[in-house]
């Protein structure tokens, strides 16, 4: 029977510190916030060793606690900086479309094989940098949806928004990310008319 007796808190920092930190970093995009949440996770785990069932590994259990801390962090950010009308405007850069809704200058051809891109560390770095450039509400919504894979109902609760507003937020987040990647990574190419 596995239980909390199998836990070894004295080894946690060395064994899981970097792993949990990277996990938090990808989602929070902020070094000191990520460090704080790793610390909070270990402290919560230490106090609540009884919740370790032994059915999962120590690291899975710790990540589970960290996930809750991350959701709490997003909840707090949403409370401190509630949505403004500006967050819900469909496009921060209305010049993408003309008055009748046509592209003014459409997306460029990104070319190549996307499967190659995922292996390029520089592309992944650029991606996370573009994500960091979004407003916190947009970046958090995108992170919950696409990195955490949460469903929209859960995200609405965390960010305290209606589903309709969430769709707008995610639309804007994707649109801005796309534009950022196009400008900073694929920028070498230029689009041609339809």
């Amino acid at each position: 029977m596995a239980n909390s007796a199998n836990l070894d808190p004295s080894a946690w920092v060395d064994r899981y510190g970097d792993y949990l930190f990277r996990y938090a970093m990808l989602r929070l995009r902020n070094r000191s916030a990520a460090e704080d949440l790793v610390q909070e996770t270990f402290l919560a785990a230490l106090k609540d060793q009884g919740s370790f069932s032994g059915n999962s590994s120590e690291s899975t259990w710790l990540v589970g606690i960290l996930k809750h801390k991350i959701a709490d962090h997003f909840r707090r950010q949403a409370r401190e900086a509630p949505l403004r009308d500006n967050d819900l405007r469909e496009d921060p850069d209305p010049s993408s479309f003309d008055g009748s809704g046509h592209w003014t200058s459409g997306p460029t051809d990104w070319g190549g094989n996307p499967a190659d891109l995922y292996r390029e560390k520089k592309f992944l770095d650029q991606f996370t940098e573009c994500l960091s450039g979004l407003s916190p509400n947009h970046a958090n919504a995108f992170t919950l949806r696409e990195i955490e894979g949460a469903d929209t109902g859960e995200i609405c609760k965390v960010l305290n928004v209606t589903e309709t507003n969430l769709w707008v937020i995610l639309h804007r987040a994707r649109m801005q990310l796309r534009r950022c990647l196009e400008a900073r990574w694929f920028g070498r190419k230029t689009g041609k008319g339809p």
């Binding site: 970097d18 996990y23 809704g101 459409g106 997306p107 891109l117 589903e163 994707r174």
Partner: protein, 95 residues
């Protein structure tokens, strides 16, 4: 394209409408009329087709990033600073 006033307008979506609906379709299943309208538009619009492919690439990249972080030996190579590790060790030892 200009949206028609009547219910058949879904078949005449603008590029701006389509970009919004493409994103929305990644978060919920669209009503049939809108789904058909988007598909028809994509058949004739090179830019919106590109836009769709690029959104899917963005989604896939986010998933890969998550999967890589889950596997040990993350490619991003970030790690806790020694100071942070020490601080956490101390806080764990003195609850």
């Amino acid at each position: 394209m200009v949206r028609k006033k009547n219910g058949e307008g879904a078949l005449m979506l603008s590029c701006k409408d389509v970009t919004r609906l493409l994103s929305e379709s990644m978060d919920r299943s669209l009503p049939l009329g809108k789904r058909v309208g988007v598909r028809l538009h994509l058949l004739i619009c090179k830019f919106c087709s590109r836009y769709e492919k690029q959104l899917l690439l963005i989604r896939e990249t986010a998933r890969r990033l998550a999967a890589m972080e889950d596997a040990c030996g993350s490619p991003t190579g970030e790690s806790l600073s020694e100071e942070a590790k020490e601080r956490i060790r101390i806080s764990l030892a003195t609850p």
